[in-house]
């Protein structure tokens, strides 16, 4: 099998460990980064939300307070005009009435208005006095028709050019006009001339109980300095900012409160991605967003996180802005730290991985090298000891592999030995089969000779038959002679039997004599034993007597005499013993000689018996010879036929031996091929190095 490329275990372990570590580090870093980013974003958003909510509440509170002030101011202003205002029809006055919204001018002539007899049309003493008292702005309106509206005839509201906004009128489309016409007091923010004010309008009722005009007090929303300062002071972060965008219809998108661009309309401003974010803010009123906003001064694009809230009472949208980079600076710091840590981890993993991979790969390498040697047939080298001494699976593997090498080595050794033995045995077998083959050939030749000999015998036996008749005649004569001799032998045998019986009687008589001598011998032995014991007793008595001194003197004499008697008894028994020995020897000699004579008689009798048996046999033979001549002829004939059968059998044997010769040749060739095979095996085993 072709291996396209090889990666060693060491590299695999190294790559694997580095990969795992890197992936783990990256995964952890990314998750941490994403999570931290999310947390930071949420925190920033919450921060900005807090800011906007705080400002919203602040503005609302401020507005309510301002509205209360305005309401109070209205009461004050109303005090000056209520019930004191009249129209002087006899002194009309002409104005170019300018719609405060459209700025369309329309000439109108209306009676002049007087308050407590003082003309107020185009006169500013009263409004200024009231203004001085209550602050803010005060205006006296006069109702006009054609067009319908409320014309400013005396006011402290100034135009942009600083002139008083006399001659401007609130059109009938204005909610202020509609509210006044309903004889109600309008309170709220309203657009006055060129700005929004927190206002209060109250109808001025004439003598005839008709609405002749309106008294107004108001505070410019944007002139609430404390609120303004407060809004501008609230920042999120070092580079965050807050500002207020005007959401009123005619002035939507104008920066009402801003640190540097108040009054600027930024409704159509777009961010770096082309998103009209201000328009989006004014559209959504409440929400948040991230925009890439170019700095209006430097032009640098910064990513900003915006949070905005709508204050409907004042028609404002309060925006809190945070610098995205500043918000996420901890995240970036964390990112950088993670990168450094990650690199360090990877380095550490590389070092550790290198160490372990080397540790693992060394033992694997050793085993691979041993396997190479085994492949080349070298079984002599073992696994290094230090590999087997490892306390891990590789150590176990090395140990078992070493065992495998040893077992294989032993097995090959045994196979080699067995092969050598087998080779020798096959060699012997080959030699033996060759010898058997040659012997079989010889036997085949010998059998063939036997066959020819048997054929000769067959012809010879036929000649024998012809001589048998002559033999029969001679046998009859022989029979007569033998009968005579037989009767003579019989008489002789009877005589010899008598002699034998007489001899046997003599022998038994001598034997009984010997038995009696044995009995005498036993008696003599007993007497001897008694004498011996008597002697000992006498000795003991003598001892006691000698120990007794004089008192035992007589006893000593008696003991001594008894001992002498015992001695003489012993000596007498010795003489008897000698005599018995002589008698026994004589009787033994007699028995021997008698037995020799008996032996001779027996031999003679046996010879005679044999002679009789021979004569008997001769007689039988003669009879047989005489009577069996014809049988012999028949037998000879049978023999002839038997010879023929033998001859046939021998021919079959010869054939069989020939077949055996063939098979031994086959055995020889088989053993030759076995020999070659064993030598091949031996050669195959020779290439293995075992030691």
């Amino acid at each position: 099998m072709n291996i396209p490329f090889r990666v060693s275990i060491r590299h695999k372990i190294l790559i694997g460990s580095i990969g795992i570590a890197t992936i783990a580090c990256l995964s952890i870093a990314m998750l941490s980064y994403i999570k931290a980013g999310s947390i930071i974003d949420n925190a920033a958003e919450q921060g900005l939300t807090g800011v906007t909510n705080h400002l919203l509440n602040l503005c609302r509170t401020n507005y309510e307070l301002s509205q209360k002030t305005v309401n109070y101011n209205l009461n004050v202003a109303d005090f000056f005009v209520k019930g004191k205002t009249e129209l002087r029809y006899n002194r009309p006055i002409r104005y170019d009435a300018e719609d405060q919204i459209t700025h369309a001018k329309t000439p109108v002539t209306i009676p002049t208005m007087a308050v407590e007899g003082t003309f107020v049309s185009n006169s500013f003493g009263l409004v200024d006095r009231v203004t001085d008292m209550i602050g803010g702005t005060v205006t006296i309106f006069q109702r006009m028709t054609r067009p319908n509206g409320l014309l400013r005839i005396s006011t402290s509201v100034k135009r942009k050019d600083g002139s008083r906004a006399v001659g401007t009128y609130i059109p009938e489309s204005s909610p202020v006009y509609k509210t006044i016409m309903r004889r109600e007091t309008f309170r709220g923010n309203a657009f006055v001339v060129n700005d929004w004010y927190i206002t209060a309008y109250k109808p001025i009722i004439g003598a005839g109980n008709e609405i002749i005009g309106t008294i107004y007090v108001g505070i410019k929303q944007s002139e609430m300095d404390v609120l303004r300062n407060k809004i501008l002071s609230v920042k999120h972060g070092a580079s965050g900012s807050t500002y207020v965008i005007d959401d009123h219809e005619n002035s939507r998108g104008t920066l009402v409160i801003h640190s540097s661009m108040e009054g600027t309309n930024i409704l159509d401003r777009k961010d770096a991605d082309g998103v009209a974010y201000v328009r989006e803010i004014c559209s959504r009123k409440n929400g948040s967003g991230v925009y890439s906003i170019p700095d209006p001064v430097s032009g640098d694009v910064r990513t900003k996180m915006l949070q905005y809230r709508h204050l409907p009472e004042m028609g404002w949208i309060i925006v809190a802005e945070g610098d995205y980079d500043e918000i996420n600076s901890p995240l970036f710091s964390l990112r950088n730290t993670m990168i450094v840590v990650g690199i360090l981890c990877v380095i550490f993993i590389v070092v550790l991985g290198t160490y372990f991979s080397n540790s693992v790969s060394s033992v694997v390498r050793n085993i691979v090298n041993r396997i190479k040697l085994l492949k080349e047939g070298d079984f002599s080298k073992d696994i290094p000891g230090e590999d087997m001494a490892r306390n891990d699976e590789f150590g176990v593997m090395a140990h078992h592999f070493s065992q495998l090498i040893q077992n294989t080595r032993e097995l090959l050794g045994k196979v080699r030995q067995t092969t050598e033995v087998l080779t020798e045995s096959i060699q012997d077998l080959t030699i033996s089969s060759k010898e058997i083959s040659s012997t079989s050939n010889q036997q085949a030749a010998a059998v063939k000779e036997i066959v020819s000999t048997m054929e000769d015998s067959d012809s010879l036996s036929k000649k024998v038959a012809s001589r048998i008749d002559e033999v029969a005649r001679i046998a009859n004569q022989t029979k007569e002679f033998v009968e005579k001799g037989f009767s003579l032998i019989k008489e002789t045998l009877e005589k010899m039997e008598d002699i034998q019986n007489t001899n046997a009687e003599n022998i038994s008589g001598v034997r009984s004599l010997g038995t009696q001598i044995e009995s005498i011998w036993e008696v003599v032995n007993i007497i001897n034993g008694i004498a011996d014991q008597t002697k000992i007793i006498a000795f003991n008595a003598e001892l006691e007597a000698s120990a007794a001194g004089d008192a035992g003197k007589n006893f000593q004499i008696v003991a001594s005499e008894v001992r002498r008697l015992a001695d003489s008894t012993v000596s007498s028994t010795n003489e008897i013993r000698q005599k018995i020995d002589e008698i026994q020897r004589s009787s033994d000699n007699l028995v021997l000689s008698t037995e020799r004579g008996t032996e001779r008689i027996r031999e003679g009798w046996e010879r005679s018996t044999k002679l009789r048996e021979v004569f008997d046999e001769i007689l039988n033979s003669a009879e047989v010879s005489a009577a069996s001549s014809e049988q012999i002829v028949a037998s000879v004939n049978q023999q002839v036929s038997a010879f023929e059968q033998i001859l046939l059998t021998l021919r079959q044997i010869s054939q069989g031996i020939d077949d055996f010769v063939v098979s031994t040749r086959a055995t020889t060739s088989a053993s030759e091929s076995l020999k070659e095979t064993s030598e091949d095996l031996k050669a195959s085993l020779a290439k293995y190095i075992l030691s």
Partner: protein, 170 residues
Amino acid sequence: MYIMDNDELIAKLESSSGEGEDTLSVEEEIIHKLLIFQIDDRKYAVYADLVKEIVINHDLYFIPFVPPYITGLINRQGQPYTVFDLKMLFTNERLQASKVMIMKSDSDFIAFMITDVAEISGIPSSGINLVVSSETESTFIGSCNLRGEEIFIINVQEIYNRLANDLQNI
């Protein structure tokens, strides 16, 4: 051998009459009773007063851990005796015999295997040739001449001591 004439003989007889044969005056010789026994064909002697008795055909009980000249134990009237084979002791050959000569003793209880006893003979002191003492004690006390035959007298105590020494060395 003490040589005397007939007068001296008669005088001695008159002075010793009525006294025991063994009681002699100070200047008379002491007659020692010696028991003559045989070990195979050789004769040995031992002082008769040391011998308790002779027994025959007693069962011999083998004991191990003893020198080879100790054939075993016999039991005589409820008392075991250690039996010595003097032939083994003298010639290193085993004695085939059935008689045992038991010695008198209060504590030692030893016996000797012998072929036969011959006689108890009275030998005067002058007839006993004592062994000159040397550095070690001899197995024989001395020898005597009995009818022209030199007979060695066994030193029983020494044989006993020999056994004690040999047992210490085993």
